[in-house]
């Protein structure tokens, strides 16, 4: 399975008026293929997360198209597109993203609950083991540290074994040891056939990537390959 962005742009209007706008992403083209890990780096505000949200089917581009295999994501209605995202795309968003009414284990199983899919506790626990927070399975997110919350988000994104994984700063708030652990896990996912996109500031992440991109002022450009 592949995810392809064709000349996507996203324009935002500033509060001061319709005539005053800027491009968070401008004419970006990107191809994520099965078995590859693609990394995008860039300064804060360069448009990386906006592009990731466009690729996830969460933010409609003002220009351009996004295809999941042959399906134009934004030609679909919200319901089917959401269902497709749930089935094929795992997203690790920025920030602290645990639902406070659910335990860590329930948070990980949340994507399955949405569409009534069965998932054993053992499978969810296995994922928590991989990210190193299995002992926190019954804890609520308000008791987790920033790093633990990031790992929860990663486990949740992987729970349905998605064909595409989009990770936005997955190693933010993590110490060096856990950063390496997560980067190895993402590499392993790619090696097992997932198309992985990693948006990060981490310098050492480049060592795990097949392709490197850099984003600056909304412009995406390929950087030197490993």
């Amino acid at each position: 399975m592949e995810l392809r962005a064709e000349n996507v742009s996203r324009r935002f209007f500033r509060n001061s008026g319709q005539a005053n706008y800027f491009y968070a992403v401008k004419d970006a083209a990107l191809l994520l293929t099965s078995g590859s890990l693609t990394e995008i780096t860039g300064r804060s505000g360069s448009g990386k997360s906006t592009l990731l949200n466009i690729l996830a089917g969460l933010l409609e581009p003002t220009e351009g198209r996004v295809f999941l295999d042959r399906v134009d994501l934004y030609s679909m209605a919200d319901g089917p597109r959401s269902e497709l995202r749930s089935r094929c795309i795992g997203v690790v968003p920025q920030g602290q993203t645990g639902l406070h009414s659910l335990t860590v284990l329930e948070n990980v199983k949340l994507p399955c609950l949405l569409y009534g899919e069965k998932l054993s506790d053992a499978s969810a626990l296995e994922l928590l083991e991989k990210v190193g927070i299995a002992d926190l399975k019954d804890v609520y997110p308000n008791e987790l540290s920033g790093g633990e919350m990031r790992r929860l988000a990663i486990a949740r994104a992987l729970v349905k074994k998605p064909a595409i994984l989009l990770a936005d700063e997955p190693t933010g708030d993590l110490d060096d040891e856990n950063t390496q652990k997560i980067l190895r896990l993402l590499r392993q996912e790619a090696d097992e056939g997932t198309a992985v996109l990693l948006v990060t500031h981490e310098r050492e992440a480049a060592a795990y990537a097949d392709r490197l991109y850099r984003m600056d002022g909304g412009i995406l450009a390929e950087a030197s390959a490993q």
């Binding site: 933010l59 639902l99 009414s101 949340l110 949405l114 009534g116």
Partner: protein, 401 residues
């Protein structure tokens, strides 16, 4: 759907403070709707019952009774009244054109003395001519009311075949009447023969209620049924002009003065209920908007893991429906606890006929109050649900990161 209910329940459980406030709001709303509707319906019911029990087209009483409003006091509140006239007035009325039936009634209150076992209003009627009390008696008693027998009103707590003493005269309870929601529920009913002997006993005990009127000829009121084809007003005027020292009143006008009072009370209660309903929707909507801001991130996370906008709306609506349902049950239950045991107090305070509706109507009211409250909860959350589900998940998470 399982997702919506599971998450809604968990949200309610994990935010007890927020949930309790919203449940209390829903309870307040359901309480006001149920209690308000119950009072309005009971007043309407009471008026219909009062109208049915009055039965006559024209009511004739001694002039002094009318000026004191004594008849209405007896009928509405069960306040004892003593006013009498000679039955010759009734004979005269019977002979008048347009009068189909004229039947006497006699009112006598028991004394607070050893001669009387309980404090009650005794109403005497003539079984031969009565057309107002007997149809009512027949609803609960198929036998005849013989000499010494009494039928007791619904609020008189005396068992059947129990004896009671009225001015040293033994009377036997043979039946109990259905409730009317008026002062008639506090009275006992006997034939004119029985009542006349009771009044003679009272006189012999030194109670002088009748003034110059002879006990054998004393009556308190005349209930008149107007013949078909005649105007009630014309018959009433005729009686007032041709029969001395009496005041004839159209029962319609007695009803209309009560109906006006009832209409005012009903209007106020209905207005209050509608205002509370709107206010509760506004308050709930504001609460939902505040909560919505707090929950923007939660909704963004759900969008990211694959929830559609429709699923999010459904979840919020389920949550508000659950909260409203719990609150409504609480509110209706509380209203029932206040409204039913304090029926007599409400009736006394309102000073209007007040008769609770039957069980079926009460059940419909309960259902209506529950639905109205749940609907208010759903309506007030609908706007927030729509707004929340349209937020841009990526941007929300970046703002809150």
């Amino acid at each position: 759907m399982r997702f919506a209910s599971t998450l809604a329940l968990k949200n309610i459980k994990r935010k007890p403070g927020r949930s309790v406030i919203m449940i209390l709001l829903a309870a307040f709303l359901a309480f006001s709707i149920f209690a308000g509707s119950l009072v309005v319906l009971s007043l309407r019911n009471g008026l219909a019952s009062y109208e049915a029990r009055l039965g006559a087209d024209v009511v004739v009483v001694p002039y002094e009774a009318q000026t004191k409003g004594a008849l209405e006091s007896i009928l509405l509140q069960g306040i004892p009244g003593y006013f009498y006239m000679d039955e010759s007035a009734m004979e005269k009325i019977r002979g008048m054109e347009g009068v189909e039936i004229a039947t006497p009634q006699f009112y006598l209150a028991s004394a607070k003395a050893g001669c009387c076992s309980v404090a009650l209003q005794l109403i005497g009627f003539d079984p031969e001519t009565d057309f107002t009390i007997q149809p009512w008696i027949q609803e609960s008693y198929s036998g005849t009311v013989g000499y010494g027998d009494v039928i007791v009103g619904n609020h008189v707590s005396l068992p059947l075949n129990h004896s009671l003493t009225f001015y040293n005269q033994e009377l036997r309870v043979v039946a109990q009447l259905d409730e009317t929601g008026t002062g008639l529920d506090n009275a006992v009913y006997a034939s004119m023969d029985t009542v006349r002997d009771v009044i003679k006993n009272a006189e012999s005990l030194g109670f002088r209620y009748l003034g110059k009127v002879s006990a054998d000829k004393a009556i308190s009121s005349v209930m008149v049924k107007v013949a078909d084809g005649y105007s009630t007003e014309a018959v009433m005027n005729d009686i007032n002009v041709h029969v001395r020292k009496v005041e004839a009143t159209q029962s319609k006008s007695m009803i209309s003065s009560i109906a006006a009072g009832l209409s005012n009370v009903s209007r106020i209660i209905t207005l209050l209920t509608v205002m509370i309903w709107i206010l509760a929707i506004v308050i709930l909507a504001v609460v939902f908007v505040l909560i919505a801001n707090e929950r923007k991130k939660e909704f963004a996370i759900l969008r990211i893991v694959g929830a559609s906008r429709q699923m999010l709306s459904r979840m919020l609506l389920t949550e508000s429906a659950l909260i409203s349902a719990v609150g409504s049950v609480l509110g209706v239950g509380l209203a029932a606890l206040v409204a039913f045991p304090f029926t007599d107090l409400i009736r006394t305070r309102l000073n209007l006929p007040y008769l609770l509706p039957d069980a079926g109507t009460v059940a419909a009211l309960v259902l209506g109050a529950l639905l109205a409250s749940v609907l208010a909860g759903s309506l007030s959350s609908a706007v927030s649900a729509r707004k929340l589900s349209r937020n841009d998940a990526g941007l929300v998470l970046r703002e809150g990161a």
